[in-house]
């Protein structure tokens, strides 16, 4: 009974619904316009991406410039690598020659200070 009522109500509603059925605009022309708008929207957004990428690149470049120590300091990195990490054989030879551990540590400190000066760390 309730279902019959609903069906009746539905039929009455569909007969008297406020807006008569109207033919929609042509689908293909609407889709074409939608495609055009979508392409235009993407094109409008492209300059923003370029600007953002350029800003990031600039920021990275500036950061590298600021972090690089001033002056024409010679590059000791290869030398340090050899000195700080002596091969086991070299260490054994050094110990055999009677060199003191303190001297080795002092040398390492010296290299450390040279490569990483205090003002850089601050």
């Amino acid at each position: 009974m309730a279902k019959d009522d609903d069906r009746l109500l539905k039929e009455l509603y569909n007969q008297g619904r406020p807006h008569e059925e109207e033919d929609p605009p042509e689908f293909s022309s609407m889709m074409e316009q939608a495609r055009t708008s979508s392409r235009q929207k993407n094109a409008d957004q492209r300059p923003l991406w370029f600007a953002a990428a350029a800003a990031v690149l600039l920021a990275v470049t500036m950061a590298l410039i600021v972090m690089t120590p001033a002056g024409d300091k010679p590059d000791h990195r290869a030398e340090i690598a050899e000195s700080v990490e002596p091969s086991p054989a070299a260490t054994a030879v050094a110990l055999e020659n009677g060199e003191e551990w303190e001297e080795l540590l002092e040398f390492a400190d010296q290299i450390w200070e040279e490569e990483f000066p205090t003002d850089f760390l601050l």
């Binding site: 007969q15 008297g16 033919d23 939608a34």
Partner: protein, 174 residues
């Protein structure tokens, strides 16, 4: 034509009817809303994730576009979901006249419903969605949609029984 466009084309007519309902019968606004819905689907700002039927998803997008269009144009009072347009009547005979009188009575009854009650009836009765799908389109919980649906039916039934329309199947024939 890809799958999305095929589905849109299949639902094009009914989508437009829904857009018309959402815009209070304003054809131009309905076309704009539908156009914007299609654009949103093409540029990916609205993406179907398969959580509901495609039809209810599409109707939801159209409804949102209609609302934002209304907000943007500040046509809340002019377009308004509250407004029911009265179509021109052109009776051609007694039968037509009776049918149109009945339509007018039904329209009058529908006009007494709240916008959400009208929405749920339009979706369930005309577009044949389930109440659950209607809830998705309207962006409300299922319980809320059920309440609107039930109250809408009760109000409509009462209005029609109080009015000139006899609550009998014989009145249905057109």
């Amino acid at each position: 034509m890809d799958e999305l466009e095929t589905q849109l084309q299949r639902l094009h007519k009914t989508s437009f009817q829904w857009a018309l309902h959402c815009t209070g019968g304003r054809r131009q606004d309905a076309e704009d809303a539908l156009q914007q819905a299609y654009e949103a689907l093409l540029d990916g700002s609205a993406t179907f994730e398969g959580r509901s039927s495609f039809k209810s998803f599409l109707f939801g997008v159209i409804r949102n576009k209609t609302r934002s269009l209304r907000r943007r144009k500040r046509l809340g009072r002019l377009v308004g979901l509250d407004r029911i347009d009265e179509p021109a009547l052109n009776p051609r005979g007694t039968a037509d006249l009776e049918r149109m009188e009945r339509q007018a009575a039904v329209r009058q009854a529908i006009a007494t419903l709240s916008p959400r009650q009208r929405d749920v009836l339009e979706l369930v009765f005309y577009h044949e969605l389930t109440v659950e799908e209607a809830a998705e389109v309207m962006g409300v919980r299922l319980g809320t949609a059920r309440t609107h649906y039930k109250r809408a039916k009760n109000t409509l039934r009462k209005q029609l029984m109080d009015g000139e329309i006899q609550w009998q199947k014989t009145t249905i024939g057109s």
